[in-house]
Symmetry: C2
Subunit: 274 residues, 2 copies
């Protein structure tokens, strides 16, 4: 049986790598152009699960994905952390010195700014909507002066050589992905929970809400504010905590939040991917 | 004497409107293409002040601007809240029914999605890098079938008619701008302070940091996390509080934070614009 998984991007994209890492190599990817399309594919049943990037260690939260998590009531069943290693990819016989044109997604190009300026100073840069698609094009063109920036997996997938690796400027470049499904599976072994807090309107409300976790010795790993739509300058808070939903400390924290008139939406409870 | 003010966008853009509202109508705008260019113009002395959008009530924080505030050590001297009203602009004699092509910034087009689908269903949409530039083009083309989406001020500036107003889907559409300068002016009448908190690494650190303000009855109006670059999955927190820097309660909160080993960067202290 093959699991169908909606991902943003094509085969051998970082989303595909993350999905395979979590769900296994036999998955069938359902390639989507945008994050909204990826959520829609799960919603319409075109895929059984979805894997979406939610945060990058350099660029921060992907706000669009946070907003889509609120809109669709899916369930986070897991998370994957991926080191983003960028490579220069070309056909056999190509070398960095020969490259006159380099193709990739604008973010990947930006991530390799230093390498491009120092080593590929003479190469012209071209934007592509997808790192994996750029690799496919370089393969098809079969020209040693054209290169793509992408993953090692894209090199394997399209039969290209890795001409240079770890060419990203900041090596501490990680992306966190979440795995989404439609069923609210609560794994008893879960040690992490993601939730949205909507506080009553009073001074110190956020402080007291965070106190519900602090009093139970539950560590916060992430706090992301987003606007409350329809009420200018009011916010909701996306929180990740190091505790499973079924743990007594977590249940105590939720009881405390309820007593504070703080609305809680559980987005999922799962095993930490770190 | 004219104050030169770096803004993103052209004359009659929302940045220009915000700058005039805060600094007066005699300012000389220094038009910049990007937020980074706007900060650079202030840095290089091409402008004495800068006005940059920092947050929208629907789209949330503009992360790029938060990161630029950390990079450049400028001082926030004020804030401006602007209701974003979008209008359909055309030449004299044009009507919404006649419009076959509509031009604007992609965000402005997205903000008017409902109007475009319902009333301008037959019109083709074209993206422009600037609402104000789109208005200038519509003026130059002098063709009643072409319209722009932009501000009332753009209509005045370029001699266009407002064919329809308040065409944005969500009326609660406000943008907050900050005014930046190089001198650390501390206004004794200031009642708001923006700062960055970098906490020591321990569970409950954010809760205790927010406690420093809660204990002094200082209200938080905004909390925005951003990644700490170079240390994956660690964060810094941008905080806005309802207290001037020189107020005793604020000084007590800062002393408390220092005792907690929490690093504080003051970004500015100013009078609330609301």
């Amino acid at each position: 049986m093959f699991t169908t998984v909606a991902i943003q991007g094509q085969e051998a994209s970082f989303h595909h790598i993350a999905a395979r890492q979590f769900l296994g190599k036999s998955i069938t990817p359902v390639s989507c152009d945008t994050f909204a399309d990826t959520f829609d594919a799960l919603h319409k049943g075109q895929a059984q699960q979805a894997v979406v990037a939610i945060e990058n260690s350099l660029f921060g939260s992907i706000n669009e994905v946070y907003d889509l998590l609120l809109k669709h009531k899916f369930w986070i069943t897991g998370e994957v952390y991926l080191r983003i290693e960028q490579c220069l990819l070309g056909i056999q016989g190509a070398t960095p010195e020969k490259v006159g044109e380099v193709y990739s997604h604008p973010i990947a190009l930006a991530q390799c700014e230093q390498y491009l300026e120092e080593t590929l100073a003479r190469a012209k840069r071209f934007e592509h909507h997808d790192t994996s698609g750029a690799a496919a094009d370089v393969r098809a063109w079969n020209n040693p002066t054209k290169a793509a920036i992408g993953s090692r997996q894209a090199a394997e997938r399209f039969g290209l050589e890795v001409l240079a690796h770890e060419i990203e400027t900041h090596k501490q470049n990680y992306t966190r992905f979440v795995v989404l499904g439609k069923d609210q599976q609560v794994n008893p072994a879960a040690n992490k929970t993601s939730l949205i807090l909507t506080m009553a309107e009073r001074p110190g409300a956020l402080y007291h809400a965070l106190g519900a976790f602090a009093k139970q010795q539950i560590n916060l790993t992430k706090l992301q504010s987003r606007p409350l739509i329809g009420k200018a300058w009011h916010y909701i808070f996306y929180v990740d905590v190091d505790a499973g939903l079924q743990q007594p400390a977590m249940q105590a924290a939720l009881t405390d939040l309820k007593a504070q008139d703080c609305k809680v939406n559980i987005l999922g409870s799962y095993t930490s991917g770190r």
